[in-house]
């Protein structure tokens, strides 16, 4: 996870988004809380649990001629 303004800017650019240096600095400041969020999640043993929102195909058929 990016943890400095340069990395934040680079990752944004990789995602086709150009952000200002001020934005990158502000996001960096707030990333500590985001990092803590995913750190907590990574510690959970989810063995045996599939991701919520598993894709389910929508039934369909050929339209009548």
């Amino acid at each position: 996870m990016a943890n400095n303004p340069k990395q934040i800017s680079e990752q944004a650019r990789d995602n086709r988004l150009v952000i200002s240096s001020d934005d990158a600095a502000a996001v960096t400041e707030m990333m500590a809380d985001v990092a803590a969020t995913y750190s907590t999640i990574r510690e959970i043993d989810t063995t045996g649990f599939e991701a919520a929102g598993t894709f389910v195909p929508t039934p369909s058929k050929r339209e009548s001629d």
Partner: protein
Amino acid sequence: MTRKQDINYSSVAELAPRVKSGEISPVEIVRTSLDRIAQLEPSLNAFLEVWGDSALDQASEAEQAISSGDYLGPLHGIPVGLKDLIDVSGKETTGGSKVLAGNVATGDATVVMQLREAGAILIGKMNLVEFAFGATGLNPHTGDVKNPWDTTKITAGSSSGSAAAVAAGMIPVTLGSDTGGSVRMPAALCGIAGLKPTYGRVSRNGVLGLSWSMDHVGPMTRTTEDCALLMNVLAGHDPLDPASSKEPVPDFISGINSGLNGLKIGVPQDYFFTDSVDPEIVSSVHAAIELMANNGAEIVDLPMPWVDKGRRINMGVMYPEATSVHEKMLAEHAAKYSLSVRHRIQFGFNVSAIDYVRAQRARQWFSHQMAESMKKVDVLITPSVPIQTPTIADCTPAPGKTAAGGELANFTGVFDTTGQPSHSIPCGFTTSGMPIGMMITGHPFDESTVLRVGNAFEKLTNWHQRPPTDIPATD
């Protein structure tokens, strides 16, 4: 009490029989609402648009229909406000943003169609946090909504205007949306009832999304009984919403007066009642639990050592989903976003795919823990929020300052993670005179028991009947 005050602070359940009998006309209700709105706006800033003329036209049609014997049910002739992320054909849906200024909806959201079919009168669009992405209720584009109990304080959000309008006696019903607590937090801080139904129970078709796997639409009203009346109109499968559930829909009113006898109420022993939670809030919720125990409920203490992870999982899913929702708009209109919302969306670009999948797996794990824990109880009782209502000034972002209110969603977000039905109602007041909210959370798709408990508590107390103290009385 004057007739206007009576109408302003009546519930739907109180108004409906009077409307049906012709004792009150929908035109009188709408005129009284419009007078109250004119009296209190723009000081409260709860509305983004008020459709006075069309509301009076709808009211006149309702009056004629009812006098002709075509009464459609309890919502017929009742004014309803819609959070401005819900589409109404021919009206703007801005999401409280600059980005969507001029975005006129080409059709009604499913919930709007349901309200129209029930005879409700659409009276306007409610203010909200920009794109519903924030807990304090502040919005630099549309202006902050003031709490009717103390206008220097926040309403919480994101359904800020929806809560303030009901609390102030402007209208009896609004719809809000809830992804981390946006129905229940403002309901708690403004002293009204707010229900987040089970995920998938109420359609989100035609509603701007924030985080598709956790977005809920729910009613905000004066009483629990009114939430049940709304659920009878809003609940049900909608093929236009991919997450819409096909679970059978009960009559939410039929068992609402069954009382507390025979019910088991779970009280979490972790997280919700710790020393970090405001002691006045803890004390009020404990008193509410004791009152319910004295009136037939059995109280069961539940250890939940894992429950503190619920809000983290909620955010872990929300960040990348919100970024995905906003990716294109942000790339094209970054300068039109407020700084704080833009930064929250930019977080998501730094979340890896594996972290998002971990969050979704953790959500299943968490829901399993919750289901196991609740096997022996009908509902959980907790505080709705952990802190007392902060001031608008303390929550307003500024360089070098940590804005207050960051903890607001710590409790509500837990039940967006699980998708359980969760309901906030008033259960007391702080010494500074601000409402305290209690959250009643049930098993998935068992809104009926949640509403039964809420209604039983309201019959034992009068917290929900007190009018706000920091706004003028009705003219």
